[in-house]
């Protein structure tokens, strides 16, 4: 960048905006990256601004707008738990222009982040309750934030059950953490892959997440459920949970909608009476049932 416009003697410059607008991202450094699957990557990010590094706080379930400069912004939930300060993580699948550009970033590179935005899972209200996590594919990313949040505060909760599945063994994300959770005595970990997605040495279950959820049949007594995955998985998991006796108020999910601004202006994530970016992304099954089928 050495050959930009030559420096002439000082001329009264137009007055630059004194403060950032709501659309200006904070700069972050990529401090680590992990390939979860062949097309899914986790970036660990640290704010460049030291004060912000200290002060940044969020709740489990909130999201942000991540910038790859030159490609644009993308919306992801913060995949790391609020109980682990200092850095945040995002996990994304390479499907479009921005995610492809984010994948080009190396450790040490700069990207942008705006957030945290949206509401969160009411983890603080779940004291003493059992927590059931149901996730499919990359839908584990927002759920993982809640799982670690709960595990980091393990004493506050009852039984923890995780039912997680993906299309194939290769598509399971956070593989090391799945092993870690499976090895914990205080977590009931159930991992499954869709029929045909298993490998010869696969020792988990085989079956679609809603089916396996029905087989595992966790008790609904004093239990809240957190569900996230592809729309079809969510759609078929809700009736299973209802059959198990879960009340709609105790079932939560996080909705994926296309977003641009993240702050309730651009109109894109509007569905029924809600702006997913402001009223969500976390919704209870009770709220979801009042929504038109446009998610």
């Amino acid at each position: 960048m050495s050959t930009v416009a030559p420096q002439h003697e000082a001329r009264p410059a137009p007055e630059a905006r004194p403060a950032p607008t709501i659309y200006e991202p904070n700069l972050m450094t990529v401090i680590d990256l992990v390939d979860e699957t062949v097309d899914t990557r986790t970036l660990q990010l640290e704010f460049k601004d030291e004060a912000l590094r200290e002060s940044f706080a969020f709740h489990a379930g909130q999201f942000g707008e991540y910038s790859a400069f030159g490609a644009g912004e993308c919306t992801f939930c913060i995949a790391s738990p609020p109980t682990r300060a200092g850095a945040i993580e995002c996990t994304f699948k390479t499907v479009g222009k921005v995610s492809a550009a984010l994948r080009e970033l190396n450790v040490g590179d700069t990207m942008g982040f705006r957030g945290p935005y949206g509401n969160w899972f009411p983890v603080d209200d779940w004291g003493g309750k059992n927590v059931l996590f149901v996730a499919g594919g990359i839908g584990l990313a927002p759920v993982r934030c809640v799982i670690w949040n709960v595990l980091d505060r393990r004493d506050e909760f009852g039984d923890v059950t995780i039912v997680y599945g993906a299309r194939s063994v290769d598509d399971l994300v956070y593989k090391r953490e799945l092993e870690e959770w499976a090895g914990r005595a205080d977590v009931n970990m159930v991992t499954t892959v869709d029929p045909g997605g298993e490998t010869p040495d696969w020792d988990g279950r085989v079956g679609f997440v809603p089916t396996v959820l029905g087989e595992v049949a966790p008790s609904a007594k004093d239990t809240v459920a957190v569900v996230c995955g592809p729309p079809v998985m969510i759609k078929f998991s809700f009736p299973v949970l209802a059959d198990l006796g879960f009340a709609d108020d105790d079932v939560f999910t996080t909705l994926e909608m296309r977003m641009k601004c993240g702050v309730g202006k651009c109109g894109r994530c509007n569905i029924g009476p809600y702006y997913v970016c402001k009223d969500g992304p976390v919704f209870s099954a009770t709220q979801l049932k009042t929504l038109p089928p446009e998610y």
């Binding site: 630059a16 200006e24 909608m257 641009k260 109109g267 894109r268 569905i271 929504l291 089928p293 446009e294």
Partner: protein
């Protein structure tokens, strides 16, 4: 929301008169003070056909423009094709620029959008839209570029004679002589305009240019009042709806064939959103300028295109034009009122006027209003469908 015409002059306030001959002087004063003037101007006919159309209509097509210093706005009947919104939410604008230095990124903020401006001859429906869109622009997070332009701009509406049958401002609680979102009103009368500031900002503007204004005679005041009354009466006949029952009906009849089939003729071109004074949805994209630098821009967008809601996965929550058109009506007449207490529409009629497919909002609202007043049929839907 009832169709009460707004009468904005404070009781006992003196009504001023700006003689036709003084307009040029006023604009010259503004040029001297380096205040930008925005107002209607004749569009350069883009083709012989457009020129012929101007002749046919007996007047040029208008557009709002930032006028060259000293040029007076055309304070005449006629509906500018685009609303005033582009002066507050530009069709495209740079949010910031960025520059890469190795692994580092430097963000270069743009200028604050605070040039002092006065908009003269604004349609009351276009001014009202500013105040209506203020809600969403300041909902929790304040949109600085919008707010800076709002603060920097003084707006005077021009009492509207009612353009054509697509106008329906009174049906959405506004009036052809309103000053919502504006700082004062001009009313055309013999030899000039009655001028009535309605805010402190408007009063300050008038005070600053006091030499240009005279006190209006009682006869001129009567003439203006009569014209305004007649315009209100004329537009009130175009459409009358009960906004609250329309809102409730739309919210509760998601799958009703009337609502679900309204988009059948729609091409999804988005013209309605472009010309709409209240449509404010936008896209945010990066534009690169060679290697290692670029700008992040926001540009108008519309819920009428398929890509608006398309997920990266390929899933599209609103996959057909009926669903997208329903969303437009939903947002304007159900969601926005529920969230911000008023409809996201000023009855300017541009969407009906400009639609290539003949989608007519006046017709649709009338039909929905009739449905909303009809006693609920047995077995009718009571709440929006819920997840399929």
């Amino acid at each position: 929301m009832s169709a009460t015409p707004e009468t904005d002059a404070a009781p006992g306030a003196e009504i001023l008169f700006l003689a036709e001959g003084e307009l040029a002087g006023l604009v010259a004063d503004l040029a001297t003070a380096a205040v930008e003037v925005v107002g209607p101007a004749a569009t350069e006919p883009a083709s012989p056909a457009a020129a012929a159309a101007d002749v046919l209509h007996g007047r040029p097509e208008l557009e709002y423009r930032t006028l060259a210093p000293g040029v007076a706005p055309l304070l005449a009947p006629g509906m500018p094709r685009l609303s005033l919104k582009g002066f507050f939410l530009p069709q495209t604008e740079a949010l910031f620029a960025w520059r890469q230095h190795g692994t580092e990124i430097e963000i270069e903020r743009g200028e604050a959008s605070a040039r002092r401006r006065v908009a003269l001859g604004v349609k009351p429906c276009d001014a009202a839209a500013l105040e209506i869109v203020d809600h969403v622009m300041n909902w929790d997070f304040a949109d600085q570029p919008w707010n800076e332009r709002r603060v920097a701009t003084t707006v005077f509406t021009l009492a509207c004679p009612v353009e054509d049958g697509s106008c329906f401002c009174t049906a959405v609680g506004l009036a052809p002589d309103g000053t919502r979102g504006a700082d004062g009103l001009f009313t055309p009368v013999e030899g000039g305009w009655l001028v009535e500031p309605s805010t402190e900002k408007g009063a300050a503007f008038v005070a600053e240019h006091a030499a240009r204004f005279a006190t209006a005679s009682a006869a001129l005041v009567d003439e203006g009042a009569e014209a305004r009354r007649a315009a209100n009466e004329r537009v009130a006949g175009h459409l009358e709806i009960d906004a609250e029952s329309v809102r409730e009906w739309i919210a509760g009849h998601f799958d009703d064939p009337l609502l679900a089939g309204l988009g059948v003729r729609c091409h999804g071109c988005g013209t309605c959103a472009s010309v709409c004074p209240t449509c404010h949805c936008f896209d945010i994209v990066d534009e690169t300028d060679g290697v290692g630098k670029g700008t992040r821009r926001r540009s108008w967008d519309t819920c009428q295109t398929g890509k608006f809601t398309l997920h990266a996965s390929g899933h599209n929550p609103r996959n057909d034009q009926n669903a997208r058109f329903r969303q437009r009506l939903n947002h304007k007449f159900s969601i926005y009122p529920l969230r911000f207490g008023e409809v996201l529409c000023t009855g300017c009629g541009r969407c009906s006027r400009e639609c290539h497919a003949g989608q007519d909002l006046v017709e649709m609202l009338a039909a929905i209003d009739v449905a909303a007043r009809r006693p609920a049929a047995v077995g009718a839907e009571t709440e929006s469908g819920g997840p399929a």
